[in-house]
C-alpha cells in the first residue's frame, strides 16, 4: 500500500540532541493511535539542508518545513495538518523570512510536483527501501522498454540527443562518453557510478542515493545495456552508511525481481552491480584515482590519456558517471530527448541540483533549470543574505570554483556560465559570503583543504600547496609583503601548468579570482588591516613587539 504522506525527520546529530528521537516516539505513537501508520510514512534523513533549527520535519507532498519542535507538538501536527489538511503555521520553520521564502518557492513551482524536477522527483516521495514504490512511479520502465523492445543503439542515441552533460564537475557530454566505451574494443567493460562526493559541504549525491537508490541502479543497467558492459560498481564515500545500506538493499530486491543479475527480465542482457566503500580521500573522486582504489591500490590518479573509456578498470573500457548524471537517465529514456531539452539552455539542457550554502537565510539544495540566475538562487531559494547584511562574494562551483563579487549575480548557472571570467559550474555549489567574511582567510581555508587532500605524488601540487598556504598565512598574520600577492599567483599558475591531475590545478582559479576581485583586501592585509576583523595579526604583531622588547631588556 502506498502511503499518502511522507514525513522526513531530521536525525542529524544536532537534531537528535535537540530531542528528535523523543519527538519521533510520540509522533509514531500518535499515528498508531489514529490508525495512520500505513498512510503516513516516517523517513529519516541526517541532512535536511537546514541546521540550527532543533527538531525539524519536512512534510510531503505539501513540502512544509516544521522546526524547533517539542514532543508535545506531534499530536497537533497529526490532528490539524495530517487529518484536517491545515498546516500548523506557528510551528513552521524559522523566521518570517523563511515563511516568505516558502511562499516564493511555492510560487516558483519549485515545490509543486513536476515542473523542473527531473532528478529529485522521487526523493522524499517514495520509500527508498521499497521496490514497489519505485515501480509505482514508473521505475524500471525505461530499462524494461530497452531490453524488451529497444536496442543499445537506440538507448545511446536518445542519451546523445538529450544533450545530457556530466554532473560530476567537468560537464562532459554523457552520450559521447558512452559511445566511446561502446566503440572501444574488448568484451569486458564496466560501468562505475562515482558516488565519492568529497567536495566539502556538498551532499546532492547522497540525497539521491538515500532517497532514490533504485533509480541509480536502473541508470547503471541502462548504461551497461547501451555500452556492452555487464558489470557495474557504485563507489560510495565511506561515511555514507545509509546510502550503502539502501543501495545494497535495492540491489538485492532488484536482483530478486529480475531487474539485475543474469538475463535481465528474461532478455539476453545481464548486469550485476556491486557497492564499494570509498577510501576516504577527496582525490579518490577523480575518476582514475577512483579506479586505482577500486582495484585495491593506493588511490592516486593515472596518466590521461588513455582515458577510462578505453583503458579503465583493470584496463578495460569503463564508463564513469556521477550519481546525478545517472539520475537523469531513466526519465530521459522514459520521456524522450525532446522532453528533456525543454528544460534549461541549448548547450546545458535539463536541470541542475544547486546547493546554496553560507550566509543565506535558508541554506539547502534545490533542483532548478539551468537557466536560473545566481540572483534567483541566492535571493529566491536562499531567501537572501541573513541578518540584513550585504552580499560580498560568492564562490561558484565548489572548492575549485572562482570567487566572484556581486557583479556576476545575473549570470545564468549553466555549464558554460562565467566561462569567459574563468569560472566553472563544478558541482553546482554556491558558497555565499557576506561582509563578515575575510577573503584572505577564506582563501586560506580553501588552500588548506587542497593541501590536506593532495595525494603527494607530484611536486607542484604537494609542495605548491604547502607554499601557498604558508604564503597566504603571511597575509593573515601580517608578515606578507606586497610582492607576495604576485608570488601567490605565480606559484598557483606554475601548479596549474605543471600538475599531474586536476587537483593540483585547482587552487589557481579561486586564488586568481580572489586576487582579481579583492586585490585591495590582500593589499590591506599587508598594511595590517583586515576589514572583516577576522585576521588577528595585530595581536600577533603586538605579541612580537612585546617579545622583542623583553629580549632587548634581558640583554
Amino acid at each position: 500500500m502506498i502511503p499518502l504522506m511522507h514525513v522526513i525527520l531530521d536525525v542529524s546529530e544536532e537534531a537528535v540532541k535537540a530531542g528528535a528521537r523523543e519527538f519521533q516516539e510520540v509522533l509514531e505513537a500518535k499515528l498508531r493511535k489514529e490508525f495512520l501508520s500505513e498512510d503516513v510514512r516516517i523517513l529519516e534523513s541526517a541532512n535536511l539542508g537546514v541546521s540550527g533549527r532543533g527538531v525539524c520535519l519536512l512534510v510531503y507532498p505539501d513540502e512544509v518545513y516544521y522546526g524547533n519542535l517539542k514532543p508535545g507538538d506531534a499530536a497537533r501536527i497529526v490532528e490539524q495538518h495530517f487529518i484536517n489538511g491545515k498546516p500548523v503555521e506557528e510551528l513552521f520553520l524559522g523566521s518570517p523570512e523563511t515563511r516568505r521564502l516558502m511562499e516564493w518557492r511555492r510560487k516558483e513551482g519549485i515545490i509543486k510536483k513536476g515542473r523542473g524536477r527531473v532528478v529529485l522527483d522521487n526523493v522524499g516521495a517514495v520509500d527508498p527501501e521499497s521496490l514497489s514504490e519505485y515501480r509505482s512511479r514508473d521505475g524500471f520502465k525505461a530499462l524494461e522498454e530497452a531490453v524488451r523492445n529497444g536496442t543499445p543503439e537506440g538507448v545511446l542515441e536518445t542519451v546523445k540527443e538529450s544533450g545530457l552533460r556530466g554532473r560530476g564537475g567537468a560537464g562532459f557530454p554523457t552520450g559521447m562518453k558512452w559511445e566511446a566505451v561502446k566503440d572501444a574494443p574488448g568484451d569486458r567493460k564496466y560501468v562505475i557510478c562515482n558516488a565519492d562526493e568529497g567536495e566539502p559541504g556538498t551532499f546532492k549525491d547522497r540525497i539521491l542515493l538515500e532517497g532514490d537508490p533504485f533509480r541509480i541502479l536502473e541508470a547503471m543497467a541502462l548504461a551497461g545495456y547501451a555500452t556492452g558492459a555487464r558489470e557495474g560498481f557504485v563507489y560510495v564515500r565511506g561515511e555514507y552508511r545509509t546510502s550503502i545500506d539502501r543501495l545494497e538493499n535495492a540491489i538485492r530486491l532488484s536482483r530478486d525481481a529480475g531487474y539485475l543479475g543474469p538475463n535481465v527480465l528474461g532478455s539476453s542482457f545481464s548486469f550485476e552491480v556491486k557497492v564499494k566503500e570509498g577510501a576516504g580521500a577527496y582525490i579518490c573522486g577523480e575518476e582514475t584515482a577512483l579506479i586505482e582504489s577500486l582495484e585495491g591500490k593506493r588511490g592516486t590518479p593515472r596518466l590521461k590519456p588513455p582515458y577510462p573509456t578505453t583503458e579503465g578498470l583493470w584496463g578495460r573500457p569503463t564508463v564513469v558517471n556521477n550519481v546525478e548524471t545517472l539520475a537523469n537517465v531513466p526519465p530521459i529514456l522514459r520521456n524522450g530527448a525532446a522532453w528533456f531539452r525543454q528544460f534549461g539552455t541549448e548547450r546545458s539542457p535539463g536541470t541542475k541540483i544547486y546547493l546554496i550554502i553560507g550566509h543565506v537565510v535558508s541554506p539547502g539544495l534545490v533542483e532548478m533549470e539551468t537557466t536560473t540566475s545566481l540572483r534567483e538562487l541566492i535571493y529566491g531559494f536562499g531567501g537572501g543574505i541573513r541578518g540584513r547584511r550585504r552580499l560580498k562574494a560568492v564562490q561558484v562551483g565548489g572548492s575549485s570554483g572562482g570567487i566572484f563579487d556581486p557583479s556576476v549575480l545575473d549570470e545564468a548557472m549553466h555549464f558554460d556560465a562565467l566561462k569567459e571570467k574563468g569560472g566553472i559550474l563544478g558541482s553546482g555549489s554556491m558558497l555565499v559570503m557576506d561582509e563578515t567574511t575575510c577573503i584572505v582567510d577564506m582563501v586560506h581555508g580553501i588552500l588548506n583543504f587542497f593541501l590536506h587532500e593532495s595525494c603527494g605524488s607530484c611536486v607542484p601540487c604537494r609542495i605548491g600547496n604547502e607554499r601557498l598556504v604558508r604564503a597566504v598565512n603571511g597575509f593573515r598574520t601580517g608578515s606578507a609583503r606586497m610582492s607576495d600577492i604576485d608570488l601567490l599567483e605565480e606559484i598557483a599558475s606554475a601548479m596549474k601548468v605543471a600538475s599531474y591531475c586536476a587537483l593540483g590545478q585547482s587552487p589557481y582559479l579561486p586564488l586568481a579570482t580572489a586576487i582579481r576581485y579583492f586585490r585591495e583586501e590582500f593589499a590591506e592585509h599587508v598594511n595590517g588591516k583586515c576589514r572583516a576583523g577576522v585576521c588577528r595579526f595585530n595581536v600577533l604583531k603586538e605579541r612580537q613587539e612585546a617579545q622583542r622588547w623583553m629580549l632587548a631588556m634581558s640583554r
Binding site: 580521500a281 593506493r298 596518466l303 593541501l451 590536506h452 587532500e453 593532495s454 595525494c455 603527494g456 605524488s457 607530484c458 611536486v459 607542484p460 604537494r462 609542495i463 605548491g464 600547496n465 604547502e466 607554499r467 604558508r470 605565480e490 606559484i491 606554475a494 596549474k496 601548468v497 605543471a498 600538475s499 599531474y500
Partner: protein
C-alpha cells in the same frame, strides 16, 4: 613514423616514442628526476616540462608526453626553463635546510640540477623533517627527510629488481617511501642489491661505504667485472686516494645496470688488513716472511726434486676459477710445458664437470648455449636445480622480471626457493630424482605429440632408441619416485613444449650427483625433442658458479684437454700446442681434483700447487682432504688471504685480487670481458700472472710476452674459440666465443643451424637412485648449496661486516616436521651426522623445504657442510655427489657456533 619539430628542427621517430626519448635520441638534454630509463614515464617530479605549441596549458612533461605528428616542442624556451625552475624551487623548498651544505651534494642529482638552474636553497619553513631515519640495513641508509618522493626506489625495486620492498606511506606532504607494513629495511624482503640506492637522485638513499659522502672526491671510476659469480656483471669501482671506496652498476650485457649485494657492496676485502702482503715459507714448522726470490727458488727446488723422485706426474696443480683467463692459461702451461704433466684441474670438477661431459657428448659443447639477455625474449622458462636468485642473483632477478612480464615459469627444486613463488608450476622433487623427472617430462611430451618432429628429423640422431626408452617413464611413475603430482609434470611439459621461445636454466642441483651427467643429458634430450636449441630465447643453460669457471675450463685448466677443449690424446692438438709452447704436453690425461686428493693421500703426489682455492672447506669429505694435503711433501698455495688451506702450505705466495689486476674473465654465457686494475696489490703481493711468468722463466720457459695482452694473444693462438679475440676487441661489452677470426662478431647463440658436433644426439638414460640412500640410522636427505650473501668459503665475503650481519652464521634449513622429530626449535642448535662426521649449527625451520630434506650452505668453516658430504663420484664426469647424502638430525648439545 612520426615527424614533429624539436627546438625548430624536424625530427622523425617511431610511433609511441615520448618527447623525452625522442629528445635524448637526438642528443637534446631534458632534466629529469623521476624518470627511469627503459620504464614507462612516471610524471611525478615535473622537472622535465617542455613547451608545446598550442597545448591547453602551454607546457607538458616530456617523459609522459607522446610525440604526435606536427607537434611543435621547445625544450629551450624561456617559458619551459622558468617552469622547470619553478618546479625545482618547490622541491628545494621542501628539502632539508642544510641541503646545500650537505656533504653528499657531490653525488646529488637534485643539487646538480638546482645549480644548473641558478638556484640556491633558501630556508622556506616547509622543509621535510621529523621522519625517522632507517639505518637498519648494513649497506645503506634510508633518510626520508631528504626524499623528494620521485618514486624511483619504489619502481626500481618493484619493476627492475622485482623485490617489491617499498610502498608509499601516508599522503600529501606527509608521504614517504618505506618498506611495506611499517617494517624496517632489515625486516623487509630487501636483498641489499643497492639498485634503489643507485637510482635515488638525492641523499635519501645513500650507501654507507663512503662512496657517497666522498663522491666528490672520487678520483677515478674503473670499469671492470664483478668477481663474485659467473653472471659477470660489469661495474665501476670507485677509487679515492688509492683505495676502492665503492662500486656502481654499469650497463653490461649480462646485468643491464643491476648488481647484487656482493658486487655492489662487498669490497672490504680488497684493502683488508688481513691480506697477504709478503711471501711466507715454512721454517721449523712455522710460516715466516721471506723474499720473493727465496720463496720462488724453494718452489722450483722442491718441484725439481719431486720430478726427480716421482716423475712429472708426481706434481699436480689446482688452478682457480677466480683467476683470469691469462693466469689460468699460464698455470696449465706451467704444468704441461714447464713440468710435463697433465695433472691440472680446478673446482669446475666440483660443480660442472657433468655439464661439460654431458653436453659435449650430446651437443658438442659444454657451455651455456644462449645469452642472458635472451631471458627478455622467452615465453617459458624451466629452472631446475638452481636457486637462481641466491646463486646467480642478477640472472634470478631477470628471470623473475620475465615471469612478471608474462613468461611462464616452471621451477623444479627440492626447496621452495624464491623463484617458486613466481612460478606457474612448482615441482618440489626429492633430491636425487632429477633424471626421473626429466624423463617423465619427455614422456609426457611424446605422449601428447608435442615433440618437434621436423627438428628431430633434420638435426638429431638416436631419437628412436631414446623415445622407446623414455616412453615407459610415465609421469605417474615419476610422481612416486620424485614425490610430486603427475598432473603438474604434465602441465609443465605442455608449457615447455608449447612455448615459442623456452629456455632451461640449471646449476649444481643437477650436476652434483652421481647421476649428474645423466641429469644433464636428459635435460639436453628434452630440449632436442622440442627443438628448443639454436634459436633465440631457447637453449640449455648451465649457470656456472664462479666468476671465471667458464674461462678456466676454456683455457685448459682441466686434466684431459688443452686450451680450447682440444683433447690431450689428440696428436694434432698436442703438436699445435708444442708449436706455441716449444714443448709438447704429455698425451695421457692427468688426474682430476678428487683423484689428486686420493693420490696425494697415498703418497703418489709430492708437489701440489694450489692457486686461489680453499679445498679444505669447499671439497667433499674434508677429513679426507686434510689428510691428503698433509701427506704431500711440498704444498704451494697462492692466495690473497691465509686460508685454511694456505695455513698448511710450505710456501705461501701473496697474490692480487680482481681489483688489482688486468685480464679477462669469461662469464657463464661464454662472454669474455675485460677486468681492469683499479688499485695496486698490497705490500709486496704480486699479480698472479707475474708470479707464474716468473716461475716459467725459472723453469726455462719464458713467455714471449709477459703482459696480459700478450699472454691473451698467445692463448688466442692455442684456443680456437678465442682465435679472433684480442684485448682491443674486448673493450665495451666483450665477445662471446666461439670467435674464430678477428672480424667475427662472436656467437650469442650456439648450435644455430648446426650442432658443434654435427647432429644433436639423444642419449637414453634410466634413473638410478643416489649412491647413499636413506635408512633408519640416517633417515633424511642432506643437500648443500650456497646463499646470496656469501661466496664460496667466505675468504672474501667473510671480511664484509655487512654480509656477516645478514648471513654470518652457519645454519641448516629443515621442515617443521623434521625439526619436531629432531626435537629442536628455530634458532636452537642442531646436530647433523652422516657416515663421515657430524657438525653442529643453528636450525632454521622453514615450510619451504621438503619434510625429508635438510639444506646446509657450504660456506661456513665453523660448521663445514663438507665434513658431512660423501665422495661418491659420477662415473662419467667424476663429479662428487655433493647434493645428496643421508643424514641424521638431532638436538645439539653444544652452542650454535657464532
Amino acid at each position: 613514423m612520426i615527424t614533429f619539430t624539436l627546438n625548430g628542427r624536424p625530427l622523425s621517430v617511431t610511433e609511441g616514442t615520448t618527447v623525452l626519448e625522442a629528445a635524448r635520441g637526438a642528443g637534446v638534454e631534458i632534466p629529469t628526476l623521476c624518470h627511469i630509463e627503459g620504464l614507462e614515464g612516471y610524471g611525478g617530479c615535473r622537472v622535465c616540462m617542455v613547451e608545446v605549441e598550442g597545448s591547453r596549458t602551454g607546457c607538458a612533461p616530456a617523459c609522459t608526453l607522446e610525440t604526435a605528428p606536427g607537434m611543435v616542442v621547445r625544450t629551450d624556451s624561456e617559458a619551459a626553463f622558468e617552469l622547470r625552475k619553478a618546479v625545482l624551487e618547490m622541491i628545494l623548498a621542501e628539502h632539508p635546510a642544510d641541503c646545500f651544505n650537505c656533504k653528499h651534494s657531490g653525488a646529488c642529482r637534485l643539487h646538480e640540477l638546482a645549480a644548473r638552474h641558478g638556484l640556491t636553497k633558501v630556508p622556506s619553513g616547509i622543509e621535510r623533517s621529523g621522519f625517522p631515519v632507517d639505518d637498519s640495513n648494513p649497506f645503506f641508509t634510508l633518510d626520508p627527510n631528504r626524499c623528494i618522493l620521485c618514486g624511483k626506489c619504489v619502481r626500481t625495486c618493484a619493476e627492475i629488481q622485482c623485490s617489491d620492498v617499498y610502498t608509499f606511506a601516508d599522503r600529501g606532504c606527509r608521504s614517504s617511501v618505506a618498506p611495506g607494513f611499517g617494517d624496517l629495511l632489515a625486516d623487509s624482503r630487501c636483498v641489499s642489491c643497492g639498485s634503489c640506492v643507485a637510482a635515488c637522485p638525492t641523499g635519501a638513499l645513500r650507501p654507507k661505504d663512503g662512496s657517497w659522502s666522498g663522491a666528490m672526491y672520487v678520483d677515478r671510476r674503473v670499469r671492470t667485472v664483478c668477481s663474485y659469480c659467473g653472471v659477470g656483471c660489469q661495474l665501476d669501482l670507485l677509487v679515492s686516494g688509492g683505495r676502492v671506496v665503492g662500486a656502481l652498476p654499469a650497463d653490461g650485457p649480462s646485468n643491464r645496470g643491476r648488481l647484487c649485494v656482493k658486487g655492489r657492496f662487498a669490497h672490504a676485502f680488497i684493502g683488508h688488513p688481513d691480506r697477504l702482503t709478503v711471501p711466507l715459507v715454512r721454517r721449523d714448522g712455522a710460516l715466516v716472511e721471506a723474499t720473493w726470490d727465496e720463496a720462488l727458488e724453494r718452489v722450483v727446488r722442491s718441484l725439481r726434486s719431486t720430478v726427480d723422485r716421482l716423475g712429472p706426474d708426481g706434481a699436480a696443480g689446482l688452478a682457480s676459477a677466480r683467476c683470469t683467463n691469462e693466469e689460468n692459461y699460464l698455470f696449465q702451461k706451467l704444468f704441461r710445458a714447464g713440468i710435463g704433466t697433465n695433472n691440472v684441474d680446478h673446482c669446475a670438477r666440483l660443480c660442472h664437470a657433468s655439464t661439460v661431459t654431458g653436453l659435449a657428448a650430446t651437443l658438442g659443447s659444454g657451455a651455456m648455449t644462449n645469452s642472458i639477455d635472451e631471458i627478455d625474449l622467452q615465453d617459458a622458462i624451466l629452472v631446475t636445480g638452481s636457486n637462481t636468485t641466491e646463486t646467480h642473483p642478477v640472472i634470478g632477478t631477470r628471470i623473475k622480471r620475465a615471469a612478471r612480464r608474462g613468461a611462464r615459469l616452471i621451477v623444479a627444486d627440492p626447496r621452495r626457493i624464491d623463484l617458486a613463488e613466481e612460478a606457474e608450476v612448482y615441482l618440489p622433487l626429492k633430491p636425487g630424482t632429477n633424471v626421473a623427472l626429466y624423463n617423465a617430462l619427455a614422456c609426457a611430451i611424446l605422449e601428447e605429440g608435442l615433440a618437434d618432429r621436423e627438428f628431430i628429423a633434420e638435426r638429431t640422431e638416436g631419437y628412436e632408441e631414446w623415445a622407446a626408452a623414455v616412453r615407459s617413464c610415465t609421469p605417474e611413475k615419476a610422481a612416486e619416485v620424485c614425490g610430486v603430482d603427475a598432473r603438474d609434470i604434465r602441465r609443465a611439459a605442455r608449457i615447455y613444449a608449447g612455448a615459442r621461445a623456452a629456455g632451461i636454466y640449471y646449476a649444481m642441483g643437477v650436476t652434483q650427483h652421481t647421476s649428474g651427467t645423466a641429469g644433464v643429458m636428459s635435460l639436453s634430450n628434452l630440449a632436442l625433442a622440442c627443438g628448443k636449441l639454436g634459436k633465440p630465447g631457447c637453449g640449455i643453460n648451465p649457470l656456472r658458479g664462479q666468476n671465471n669457471v667458464q674461462g678456466a675450463c676454456d683455457v685448459g685448466a682441466l686434466p684431459d684437454v688443452l686450451p680450447g677443449y682440444r683433447k690431450v690424446s689428440d696428436p694434432a692438438a698436442r703438436a699445435a700446442a708444442a708449436a706455441v709452447w716449444g714443448r709438447e704436453p704429455p698425451s695421457e690425461p692427468g688426474l682430476t681434483v678428487t683423484e689428486i686428493v686420493s693420490a696425494a693421500e697415498s703418497g703418489r703426489i709430492g708437489f701440489l700447487y694450489i692457486m686461489g682455492e680453499n679445498p679444505l672447506v669447499s671439497d667433499p669429505d674434508i677429513g679426507h682432504v686434510r689428510e691428503a694435503l698433509s701427506a704431500v711433501d711440498f704444498l704451494v698455495v697462492q692466495d690473497i688471504f691465509l686460508t685454511e688451506t694456505a695455513a698448511l702450505a710450505d710456501v705461501v705466495l701473496p697474490a692480487a685480487c680482481f681489483a688489482e689486476k688486468d685480464g679477462t674473465f669469461t662469464n657463464t654465457e661464454r662472454r669474455v670481458q675485460r677486468v681492469r686494475r683499479a688499485v695496486p696489490p698490497p705490500g709486496r703481493a704480486r699479480e698472479d700472472l707475474d708470479i707464474l711468468a716468473d716461475l716459467l722463466e725459472r723453469l726455462g720457459l719464458p713467455p714471449a710476452d709477459r703482459s696480459g695482452a700478450g699472454v691473451f694473444a698467445e692463448l688466442a693462438r692455442t684456443a680456437p674459440q678465442y682465435a679472433g679475440m684480442s684485448w682491443d676487441r674486448l673493450e665495451g661489452g666483450g665477445l662471446q666465443w666461439p670467435c674464430p677470426s678477428p672480424d667475427h662478431p662472436g656467437t650469442p647463440i650456439l648450435h644455430a643451424g648446426r650442432f658443434t658436433r654435427g647432429l644433436g644426439r639423444f642419449v637414453p638414460l634410466a634413473w638410478s637412485p643416489p649412491a647413499e640412500e636413506t635408512d633408519e640410522e640416517y633417515p633424511l636427505v642432506l643437500t648443500t648449496g650456497r646463499n646470496l650473501y656469501q661466496y664460496h668459503t667466505r675468504t672474501m665475503t667473510g671480511r664484509e661486516e655487512g654480509l656477516s650481519i645478514l648471513a654470518g652464521e652457519a645454519y641448516a634449513e629443515l621442515h617443521p616436521q623434521a625439526a619436531d622429530r629432531a626435537g629442536v626449535r628455530h634458532g636452537e642448535t642442531l646436530r647433523l651426522s652422516t657416515r663421515r662426521g657430524s657438525i653442529e649449527l643453528a636450525a632454521r625451520v622453514s615450510e619451504g623445504i621438503r619434510p625429508d630434506t635438510v639444506f646446509v650452505p657450504f660456506h661456513y668453516a665453523q660448521a663445514a657442510a663438507n665434513i658431512l658430504t660423501g665422495t661418491a663420484l659420477d662415473p662419467l664426469a667424476k663429479i662428487p655427489e655433493l647434493k645428496v647424502c643421508s643424514v641424521r638430525a638431532e638436538r645439539g648439545n653444544g652452542r650454535a657456533p657464532s
